[in-house]
């Protein structure tokens, strides 16, 4: 499993990376905004992507649209501080398959990834 972390906050990116240290997943890159994320997606085709919603430039939802165009097989997990449910539901509409509220801890992440990847095994 190859993971791309997309978040405009470097602290947040580091937290996710750190929390996934013991989880069996290979982090192949991080991106601070939508544009950079898309470049990596096109280039490396990650299996799993964690995606922030609020980002400068291209936001998470727009980025999700683009990802689904260039790499529809990607499993996208939204990790956001936004408490607005409508935005989260829109992300599901657009193809996201996981959802987490910030702040995240190692357990939350592991559980969320377990759920996201278990479905992959079943399919």
């Amino acid at each position: 499993m190859r993971l791309l972390i997309v978040d405009d906050s470097s602290i947040m990116r580091r937290i996710i990376e750190k929390n996934l240290k013991d989880y069996d997943i290979e982090i192949i890159g991080t991106a601070p905004d939508g544009h950079k994320a898309l470049e990596i997606v096109k280039e490396k085709k990650p299996d799993v992507i964690t995606l922030d919603i609020t980002m400068p430039g291209m936001d998470g939802l727009a980025c999700l649209d683009e990802i689904m165009v260039v790499h529809p097989a990607a499993k996208v997990m939204i990790i956001t501080a936004l408490s607005d449910k409508l935005t989260g539901l829109r992300a599901l509409d657009k193809g996201a398959r996981g959802f987490l509220y910030k702040p995240v801890n190692a357990d939350d992440l592991a559980n969320a990834f377990d759920r996201l990847l278990k479905r992959n095994e079943n399919k």
């Binding site: 449910k85 409508l86 989260g88 539901l89 829109r90 599901l92 509409d93 398959r97 996981g98 959802f99 987490l100 509220y101 969320a112 759920r115 996201l116 479905r119």
Partner: protein, 875 residues
């Protein structure tokens, strides 16, 4: 064909049997008719044979008469005279019998067919008299006689032939023909007799006669041969028995004699006698045949008649029997079928109490038996089913009752959603209570929630539901985004809009790999949320009260008291003005209110009573809102309401103030430390507030190196003194920032209070500011102006004396009165307060440097802090 299959059984029977009966009836009808015809036929034949016999008798006698007549004529009347007369009588008697027979009424219908023949015969018989007359006159030759009589006989024989020659019975017909051949042969024999008689009488036979004779014999023989061939054995036997013997042989011999035409020496009478004997024998044969025919035909007729009636009777008997049997069978069959049908209907209606009883051992009987077995089996299965059903019902009822009990009493709203988001028929009673509606079952959930929540939540809910029903979406992920996990709903009931806080949770119910339903639980969290809010409010209020208390504690009680008193009065004056000025200029009134409130707010700010300044600020805001609008009378209501609210707050503060004072009174030694802290705080605040107000930056220092604690009863006085001093310093002592800079002083001024206890019985308080000190000349001038001292007396005073002037009553001017500077009592107040505590004071200063006042107060015992006592005081 379909029509036939659909017919009722009764009609089916009819369809089969009626043609059969018709065929049998037709057949019988033909049989009966045939017998009847046979009967009629034989009867008729019998009668015609009777008539024919009479005719034959006539013919027989005519034959004799013919021969006699020929003999008579041939002998020219010499012979046969007697015989002829006798013979004519016999002939006539037979004729009479014929006529009598002809009158027989039975013959009427027979004769209708033969009228012409009979008429011809009667005409021929009528000719006999004429022939006889001419015979008597001898005017006829033998040939003529032969011809005439033969003609009559031919007619007669033909008539007989016609009469009897019609029968449908083959044997009878054959015998009739035999008889006719025999009659014809006998006629020939008779003619032979006549010709022979003539020949033996004349003793000659010409060629003509001879040829007639030979042909006659030939004809006679051939007729006899024909008769022998077709006659039955009886007739043949009779013939062979009767036509034999001497006379017959003699006739054969004499016939040979005549054939030879050489010897006619035979008496004609002998010939006549012989032939007549033979003919009589023939006649006997004829009679025998005739009588046997009569017997046969009569037998046939009676036979046919018997057959006719036998057929009818047997037909009727068989017909009746057949109909009877048929009706029994059909009735039995139909009644059985009907019985079966009746029970089938009974069973079909679920009535198994009775069994079909059909005693017959035919298929229907077997069927009825099977039917009963079947019914028994049905009843058995029925009972099993009923038991199972009762069990299931019992179980179901139990489960249902439990479910209903749960659903009726559970405090949560519970229901199921199907794929179309329809709400289940079964839902917990609480649903109605929570949502205040009864229309729940079958409603679309989104539509149900539509009037209750805001559009944005509704949009989210619809999206959420879609994902919830999507098997590919993880339930936990989706549930994280439940937009109505906790939501405020607005429901309108009887025009009253109520607000509730509900929690809605969704759980997927799987069947195989599909989501069959979503279970939804709804909890009413209104109470919890309201309680939370209530707690928050209480918290806020508590905080406010604490703030009030703190404010009160921090600030000089006399200041607060003064402020509260003033504020109360001012607010009352606003209300009064409203009362009197109700119809006045609202704009002006509003402006007045605003300014007044603004002023009050300013005063609250100055004494540091944040809670009040904040309140007045709110009132001010409300008024500001109205200022730009066209003001109406009712608009003031809100303001008055707010003012009233502020008024209440003032009352609260007052009571709080009293409570604080009470506490101080109750624990005179207790709250010393607290009071001291408060004292310092309030002094600090006074400095701060005044420095802001006067735009002078002043630092306040409170030195208490000995950690001395002022006794409670002295704190108020002490604070009043200090505040008065601070006020004076701020107003008169400490210079403006610019002046201080010019004079090379620190831009920030300072006020210092120092507590010391040099002796056990003495408290020394040093108040000092770094202001400009006292302006002796100015003081003197002011004192003279306000009339504290006269010009004269003033000139006599030294510096200390002039300084003392500031402590005189009336030195402080009225213009100094404001919320911060006190009520014009000034240093006089300070002096009075110190002296009230039996203290002394000492004023010193350096122009441009400082002002200092050292107060010495007598105290008893140590003023050191006593922690244990402090604890008790605070608890």
């Amino acid at each position: 064909m379909k029509i036939l299959y659909d017919l009722p059984i009764r009609i089916k029977f009819a369809v089969v049997l009626i043609p059969l009966i018709l065929i049998i009836l037709c057949f019988d009808y033909f049989q009966i008719q045939h017998n009847y015809l046979d009967y009629g036929d034989s009867n008729r034949l019998n009668k015609t044979i009777n008539l024919g016999i009479e005719i034959n008798h006539v013919v027989h006698e005519l034959q004799k008469e013919r021969s006699i007549a020929i003999g008579y004529v041939t002998s020219n009347g010499h012979e046969f005279d007697e015989q002829i007369t006798r013979q004519r009588d016999v002939t006539d008697s037979t004729l009479n019998r014929f006529y009598v027979e002809l009158q027989n009424p039975d013959l009427e219908d027979v004769l209708v067919k033969h009228t012409n023949d009979i008429e011809l015969l009667k005409t021929s018989f009528d000719e006999i008299d004429e022939i006889r007359r001419r015979v008597d006159k001898l005017s006829l030759d033998p040939y003529q006689i032969l011809k005439y009589f033969s003609d009559i006989n031919n007619v007669a024989l033909n008539t007989v032939d016609q009469l009897i020659n019609e029968t449908r019975d083959k044997d009878v017909a054959q015998q009739v023909h035999a008889l006719i051949y025999f009659l014809k042969a006998k006629e020939r024999a008779s003619i032979e007799r006549a010709i022979g008689t003539q020949a033996f009488t004349l003793k000659a036979m010409d060629d003509e006669l001879y040829s007639s004779f030979t042909s006659l014999v030939a004809e006679q023989n051939s007729y006899i041969d024909a008769f022998i061939v077709i006659a039955d054995d009886d007739s043949r036997d009779t013939y062979e028995r009767l036509v034999a013997g001497h006379d017959v042989d003699e006739v054969d011999r004499l016939r040979n004699v005549l054939h030879t035409r050489t010897n006619f020496e035979v008496d004609s009478n002998y010939w006549y006698e012989m032939t007549t004997n033979k003919i009589n024998a023939l006649k006997k044969v004829e009679d025998s045949i005739s009588s046997r025919l009569l017997v046969t035909t009569a037998g046939l007729a009676s036979n046919a008649f018997r057959k006719f009636w036998t057929f009818i009777v047997v037909d009727v008997i068989i017909g009746v029997l057949a109909l009877w049997l048929m009706s029994i069978i059909v009735t039995n069959l139909l009644s059985n079928v009907k019985l079966l049908e009746e029970y089938a209907v009974r069973f079909s209606k679920g009535d198994f109490t009775r069994r079909v009883v059909i005693p017959t051992k035919d298929e229907i009987g077997h069927y009825a038996h099977t039917f009963n077995v079947m019914a028994g089996e049905i009843v058995k299965s029925h009972n099993i089913l009923r038991k199972e059903r009762d069990k299931a019902k019992f179980l179901y009822n139990n489960i249902y009752r439990v479910a209903m009990m749960v659903f009726q009493n559970i405090h949560q709203g519970i229901f199921l959603l199907d794929k179309n988001q329809k709400m289940s028929k079964l839902y917990s009673k609480s649903m109605e209570k929570i949502f205040g509606v009864n229309k729940i079952a079958g409603e679309n959930f989104s539509n149900f929630m539509r009037p209750l929540i805001i559009p944005r939540d509704l949009e989210a809910l619809e999206m959420f539901m879609r994902h919830l029903f999507n098997e590919d979406m993880d339930e936990d992920v989706v549930n994280q985004l439940n937009p109505i996990e906790q939501v405020k709903i607005y429901s309108e009931k009887e025009g009253l809009v109520t607000t509730k806080y509900i929690r809605v949770n969704f759980t997927r119910i799987w069947r195989k790999d599909k989501i069959a339903n979503i279970m939804v639980t709804v909890s009413d969290e209104t109470e919890a949320v309201l309680l939370q809010k209530h707690l928050e409010e209480a918290e806020k209020k508590k905080k406010q009260e604490t703030e009030q208390v703190l404010s009160i504690l921090k600030i000089d009680p006399s200041l607060i008291r003064g402020f509260l008193h003033n504020a109360k009065r001012t607010l009352r004056s606003i209300s009064e003005r409203y009362e009197t000025d109700r119809d006045g200029n609202f704009k002006e009134l509003l402006q007045f209110t605003f300014e007044t409130i603004h002023n009050l707010k300013g005063n609250a700010v100055v004494i540091g009573l944040d809670i009040m300044s904040q309140k007045f600020h709110e009132v001010e805001e409300s008024i500001a809102e109205l200022k730009d609008k066209e003001v109406k009378g009712k608009d003031f209501l809100t303001i008055l309401y707010e003012i009233d609210d502020a008024d209440k707050m003032i009352d609260d503060m007052s009571s709080m103030l009293r409570k604080v004072a009470d506490i101080y009174r109750k624990y005179p030694s207790g709250g010393h430390v607290v009071s001291n802290i408060m004292l310092i705080d309030s002094l600090e605040r006074a400095v701060k507030v005044l420095s802001e107000k006067m735009e002078k930056q002043v630092d306040f220092f409170f030195k208490n190196e000995g950690n001395l604690v002022l006794p409670n009863e002295k704190i108020d006085t002490f604070r009043d003194i200090m505040v008065q001093l601070i006020r004076n310093s701020m107003r008169h002592g400490i210079e403006d920032k610019a002046i201080r800079s010019e004079e090379g002083k620190m831009s920030r001024g300072s006020i210092t209070i120092d507590l010391n206890q040099p002796e056990d019985t003495l408290l020394e308080v040093t108040y000092k500011d770094d202001g400009k000190g006292l302006d002796i000349e100015n003081i003197k001038k002011h004192a003279i102006e306000v009339g504290v001292v006269s010009d004269f007396e003033a000139e006599k005073l030294d510096e200390q004396g002039i300084i003392d002037l500031i402590y005189k009553e009336g030195f402080s001017t009225a213009e100094e009165i404001d919320e911060h500077a006190g009520r014009g009592q000034g240093m006089n107040l300070v002096k009075n307060l110190i002296e009230g505590m039996s203290g002394t004071f000492e004023t010193s200063f350096e122009t441009g440097k400082y002002f200092q006042l050292i107060i010495k107060l007598p105290v008893s015992g140590s003023m050191k802090e006593e922690p244990e006592l402090d604890e008790t005081a605070n608890s």
